[in-house]
Symmetry: C2
Subunit: 400 residues, 2 copies
């Protein structure tokens, strides 16, 4: 094989993540590497912590980015909070609820499942019944924004139920953070993890997490040591620092991914400048425009409107359409990436992401034009101009 | 706190890692993010795998970069190879041997220690005796280049002993890979992990690993599931691919750190262009120049010459010198980072790294000038010009 420098094709990232990363974040990423114990870098860490607290809407002292992707954030939460023999209630309505179950089992704990069909939200009645039936359960785990289906579950209600039954609440906010409201303190969430490559529009590779004081107490008073050395928060705290440690001495745990943290800082700075409410509104607006446009093309949404995520749109594949070849055409001819269906949804839906920087008018209009063209290629009779006009009107109305 | 874009100070990284990252690698890092399942990206992954095989000098099919720093690479090796109840012989002659022990214990296994003092190499006689005394041991673990002490152990002999006693060999090559010979196949190493931020001069955040077929067989026929979901190679293999899968279908496991992998590819490409023998020679040459220069300044090396690492120089702190304030002065006045001592060596040694791009003439000469100046500030009478001249002669002789 001949090796050569890799120059990626320009892509419009409208799949389930990663999302488009801005030039501003890429430029931060590429600044010269400095040491992870450099006083300048310690100052940056303090800022990242505070910017993450804003993103999560929390004052939790234990708020930090895990030095690995979202899956490792999920694992961080489970290995630190769950002990062998624990009973954990896991809400499963898609691929990531299933992954939570696997994590619980690998901690030597028992997963009690609250199952809802793919494409539906977590059933609160079923959850409450399960809590009643399992008085020994120590935690309830649920996914806020199911990336595999595009469904939003009511994690505020889930956290409230968990609390009522003396359980910790564990929330997956990988795809929700920055795209829809996530209010850790107001909702009383005990442990939450996210990813950087979705609505934060940063490069993939880090997983922001946050823990309530109740959760921290459980971590620091565990009976069994945390099974992972790398993810043991009792050790990580020494590097990321307690609240009284601002700018102070940090003890070495592992080498932090310095450049990725430059990028995360910049992405969080952009969110801070835009403000959360405006970012949430932007995701909603672009979703509205996309929805109107796709519906004008004759496509329909898989998930019912009341539980639909604006940032991850599951669109049903029309009969007779070769979904894989359409995605291939979108990628090769239009440089647009959208997602295939996962698990139960494989071959049945496309997943169209409008996350972070990808949630913008030019992406939505380009996708509509491209979709119309690709559908036409496969023999569907669609009105491209009408779809673009309908979507444009959404933006015009919003602009006043 | 007022938040603002972070512009790092320019640093000369001569500590125990990260090392200086070239403009070429930083530029690769900042290329636009694409999807981790994009066919273009899959092609890049194939190249990374082959370039890593070259770096490790192996034809192992299971050779890939773990999506997290070196500590996670270490954990990947242990959680995949070790089962609860196993007996593992761990050679400990510094901080990272101790970390291996902690990993073994967290796997529910028993660590049998082969202890050598800090600053000395792993004692082969003691290892052989321990192997004789523990016929049930399944693996021998040792650190090639102890970053905490600057000592090189004979891992070729360690792997041979392990094999003689029917044990797998597990080698930490975090600081050795790219800086001194690491010959996985020739030495018969079964499992090895490294880091990107040392002699590969890439950004921190990834951990290259490689496993022999014997090791792979053990991983795929485990009795207990791997305790980590994120690091379970039985799942990761589906994404990074088997040998017969080149360019083929990859199944989603976690979102790969796309941009970090651009950077790793470029760093490995540079190593491939330079070739391993030339890179090893460059590290040795710069070490010689540094050694001669520092000795001319009256400083002495902590570790005896026959087991000294060229890329990580433990230098004894002269009596009467405030080591922390000297490091602070180097950083603030000269923009040079060197490392403090760890563990038993805290307050006793400086750790001067000559890793990857940092192993160059300008870094060595600048450090000598800076060291001389800082030592003088603290009242030591040193001859800066003589040190620089002595070091320069090493380069002149090498240039012919």
């Amino acid at each position: 094989m001949a090796f050569s420098t890799f120059y990626p094709q320009p892509r419009m990232l409208m799949g389930p993540g990663p999302s488009d990363v801005s030039a501003r974040v890429l430029s931060a990423l590429a600044r010269p590497t400095i040491g992870h114990l450099d006083p300048e870098f310690i100052g940056l860490m303090d800022q990242i912590k505070q910017l993450l607290q804003y993103a999560f809407q929390t004052s939790n002292a234990l708020t930090l980015p895990v030095s690995a992707p979202g899956s490792a954030g999920m694992e961080t939460v489970f290995v630190n909070l769950i002990e062998p023999g624990d009973q954990v209630i896991v809400c499963r309505n898609g691929a990531f609820g299933e992954r939570m179950r696997e994590n619980v089992i690998r901690c030597g704990a028992q997963a009690v499942m609250v199952d809802s069909p793919w494409g539906e939200a977590v059933c609160l009645d079923l959850l409450e019944q399960t809590l009643k039936d399992h008085p020994d359960a120590v935690a309830v785990a649920a996914v806020h924004a199911e990336t595999s289906t595009g469904v939003c579950s009511d994690v505020e209600a889930i956290a409230r139920l968990a609390r009522e039954y003396q359980c910790l609440s564990i929330i997956d906010a990988v795809t929700s953070l920055g795209g829809i409201p996530v209010k850790v303190d107001e909702w009383g969430i005990d442990a939450i993890y996210s990813g950087t490559q979705k609505c934060l529009s940063c490069v993939p590779g880090l997983s922001p997490v946050s823990f309530s004081d109740t959760a921290v107490q459980r971590i620091t008073s565990r009976e069994h040591p945390v099974q992972s050395w790398f993810l043991d928060l009792n050790l990580v705290i020494g590097y990321w620092g307690k609240d009284d440690q601002k700018g102070g001495k940090r003890s070495y745990h592992h080498t932090a991914p310095v450049n990725d943290l430059y990028a995360l800082h910049e992405a969080l700075l952009m969110l801070n400048e835009e403000t959360l409410p405006v970012a949430w509104q932007r995701h909603q607006l672009n979703h509205e425009a996309l929805r109107v446009g796709l519906e004008t093309l004759g496509l329909s949404f898989t998930v019912s409107a009341d539980i639909r995520l604006p940032q991850l749109n599951a669109v049903s594949i029309p009969e007779g359409i070769d979904e894989a070849s359409l995605r291939e055409q979108l990628l090769k001819k239009w440089q647009i990436e959208i997602g295939a269906g996962l698990g139960s949804f494989a071959g049945k839906v496309w997943r169209i992401g409008l996350m972070g920087q990808s949630a913008c008018q030019s992406n939505v209009l380009t996708l509509l034009a491209a979709m119309a063209s690709c559908l036409t290629t496969q023999g569907l009779n669609v009105d491209s101009q009408a779809a673009i006009k309908a979507a444009s009107q959404v933006y015009e109305v919003a602009a006043g």
